[in-house]
């Protein structure tokens, strides 16, 4: 039987405790440094960009004179590209997610598709840009257009939408599926009447996160050759005469916000760097707002639904 702890053991414990406390401080410091550095950088961006954030900044075209330059063509371009991306990625991604979660048999083909989706999520965005350059721009002849850019970003965020859809579907308990079948529903009725509507919130979360990623992407858009100096707007999608809708804009050259920011950042004149900061603030506010919305949505779903 050992005697009660000796003074030596007490000293050892004290030393262990000291190390533990030291680490607590280091951990907190690492966290704070990480957050403070980013906060400092964002503040710098906001302070630098603030003087340029006037209403005219949003309603002016880019210009050779920094003070007169704005982001009109860039945000309109971003909006239209996102429209194409959303219209492609959401149906395709949700359908793929539904298939993998609700239909796919457990076989090698399904396994390959699953591994492939994981792998696509890890492919650098610039590679998607090269794919688009070779395929959409030249092979399909879409040119350096809004259509090419929108499709490129749709492919880029497809894995995000698929994974989010699957996770949302998985959260619906099996008893709901059985209940639908028990009432004579077919598989598609079970999926389209019950499982998908019940998981719509979770799917939305993934879609928003995907779109926020797409809106900030620069590299693949550069690769397909988006122009940076666009002093006009694309053809309006709504026209005055029959059939009132025009898809001419899909073929138009364009620029987007991150490209505009990249262009201004790369200029040596300081006046343009202020514009870059202002564009950065707009971009940052947009992506962070979208993500915050998604996180809030997910939090709400978790609290609301109790299966």
């Amino acid at each position: 039987m050992t005697p009660a702890p000796t003074a030596n053991l007490r000293k050892l414990i004290a030393r262990h405790r000291l190390r533990e406390q030291l680490f607590t401080i280091i951990g907190l410091l690492a966290l704070l440094i990480g957050l403070l550095v980013l906060l400092g950088l964002f503040t710098q961006l906001a302070v630098t960009g603030a003087p340029r954030l006037t209403p005219e900044f949003f309603t002016s075209f880019p210009s050779r004179i920094a003070e007169k330059a704005g982001i009109l063509s860039a945000w309109v371009g971003s909006l239209l590209v996102m429209l194409v991306t959303a219209c492609t990625a959401i149906p395709l991604g949700v359908a793929a997610g539904v298939y993998l979660e609700e239909y796919a048999p457990k076989n090698w083909l399904t396994a390959i598709i699953e591994i492939n989706v994981m792998n696509l999520a890890g492919v650098p965005s610039i590679i998607y840009g090269l794919l688009a350059l070779g395929l959409f721009v030249y092979q399909f002849g879409f040119g350096q257009s809004i259509l090419s850019a929108g499709l490129t970003l749709a492919l880029l965020i497809l894995p995000i939408v698929i994974v989010a859809t699957r996770e949302a579907l998985r959260a619906v308990p099996g008893s709901i599926r059985e209940a639908a079948y028990a009432l004579g529903a077919t598989r598609w009725q079970m999926v389209s009447h019950h499982v998908v509507p019940y998981s719509a919130g979770g799917i939305m979360t993934g879609v928003i996160i995907g779109l926020s990623r797409a809106i900030g992407e620069t590299a693949p858009i550069i690769t397909i050759g988006a122009l940076t100096f666009i002093a006009f707007l694309p053809t309006p999608p709504v026209t005055g005469e029959f059939p009132f809708l025009s898809f001419q804009w899909l073929k138009n050259p364009f620029t987007v916000l991150p490209i505009q920011m990249f262009n201004w950042t790369s200029r040596p004149e300081e006046a343009f760097q202020l514009n870059a900061a202002a564009a950065g603030v707009v971009l940052l506010v947009m992506t962070l707002a979208m993500n915050a919305l998604a996180i809030w949505l997910r939090y709400r779903i978790r609290r609301k639904i109790k299966w």
């Binding site: 262990h16 190390r19 533990e20 680490f23 607590t24 951990g27 690492a30 966290l31 990480g34 550095v37 980013l38 950088l41 149906p91 395709l92 359908a95 793929a96 298939y99 993998l100 239909y103 598709i113 591994i115 492939n116 792998n119 696509l120 890890g122 492919v123 965005s125 610039i126 590679i127 998607y128 090269l130 794919l131 350059l133 070779g134 092979q139 497809l158 894995p159 077919t186 598989r187 598609w188 996160i209 926020s212 809106i215 900030g216 620069t218 590299a219 550069i222 690769t223 050759g225 991150p258 990249f262 950042t265 790369s266 900061a277 950065g280 971009l283 940052l284 979208m290 915050a292 996180i295």
Partner: protein
């Protein structure tokens, strides 16, 4: 009332829908094939002009000069240097933050920090590029006046900060997945939180931590805008982070910014560079996937 005709048409409709859904899922495989096909198809003509041996061993990358050299190692050196700088920041910081959040922080602090980390992962990289070139480089120049305006150090540092959320979030998940009874076993022996974290939780979460680091590497290798903006786009065979150099991805951006006719030499080189990049990320992805699968299977 059973109606055989209606039942047949319903079955037909179900089959049709299932086929459409399958095609949607299979399209993801088609994307992978398209990527590989396009990269190989467009890069192949280059290898008819440049022998593979000189592609791999030449120490210069000057494809658009009259005296053209095609040594991919030049671009790989740039990629490796910026990646190494980024990991030197992201792995220690990300791991310490993960240990802190998983083993030390209160529930409330953890639940507050995790969404913030997630938000930071969504910041567009072009914004980070702006920081690297216009904020961090001037700061570094105050400490070291000889630093050129474009340099790999600043790009790597900012890239490291960008990657911290990925590394810490995956590491934290892996450590949280270690069952509580293992920790209790350690505490019951008189271990402190730190001893438990380092000697029991981290070894138990090893493959998850490794997957987190691999994810970090994969992000750093493929990252484009930060290096294109802040590290300079001129190929330069060096591993000195204080110098400017182009990474694989930055070179692609540089070529694409210029006029790029189809079938030009520049056009072929970016696909060769892209193919190299794709091979690297593929290796890291497979490794990461395998490791993640392993740590899920343990418990």
């Amino acid at each position: 009332m059973l109606n055989p005709g209606r039942s047949r048409s319903r079955r037909l409709r179900e089959r049709l829908i299932e086929t459409l859904l399958f095609l949607a899922a299979a399209s993801s495989v088609a994307i992978t094939f398209a990527i590989v096909f396009i990269l190989v198809k467009e890069a192949l003509p280059l290898f008819r002009e440049v022998p593979l041996a000189s592609f791999l061993t030449d120490r210069q990358w000057t494809p658009l000069f009259d005296d053209a050299h095609f040594g991919i190692m030049t671009l790989i050196a740039g990629t490796a240097t910026t990646t190494a700088v980024a990991l030197a920041v992201a792995i220690p910081m990300g791991t310490v933050i993960a240990i802190y959040l998983s083993e030390f922080a209160s529930f409330r602090l953890r639940e507050t920090i995790k969404p913030i980390l997630e938000l930071l992962g969504a910041v567009p990289t072009v914004v980070f590029g702006y920081f690297a070139l216009l904020v961090v480089t001037p700061l570094l120049q105050k400490l070291y006046p000889d630093l050129p305006g474009f340099n790999m150090l600043s790009a790597g540092l900012v890239m490291g900060v960008m990657i911290i959320p990925y590394v810490s979030s995956v590491s934290e998940d892996a450590m949280r997945a270690v069952p509580m009874h293992l920790r209790e076993g350690s505490y019951a022996m008189g271990a402190t939180r730190l001893q438990t974290a380092v000697r029991v939780v981290m070894p138990a979460a090893f493959s998850g931590l490794a997957a987190a680091y691999i994810l970090g590497i994969s992000r750093a290798v493929g990252e484009t805008m930060i290096v294109a903006i802040a590290a300079g786009m001129q190929p330069n065979f060096t591993v000195n982070p204080l110098e400017p150099a182009a990474t694989i991805s930055a070179f692609i951006v540089q070529v694409c910014l210029g006029d790029l006719p189809h079938d030009s030499l520049g056009y072929k080189t970016i696909f060769a560079a892209g193919l190299t990049l794709m091979l690297f990320t593929l290796v890291f992805n497979i490794l990461g996937y395998w490791l993640r699968k392993r740590f899920r299977e343990i418990y």
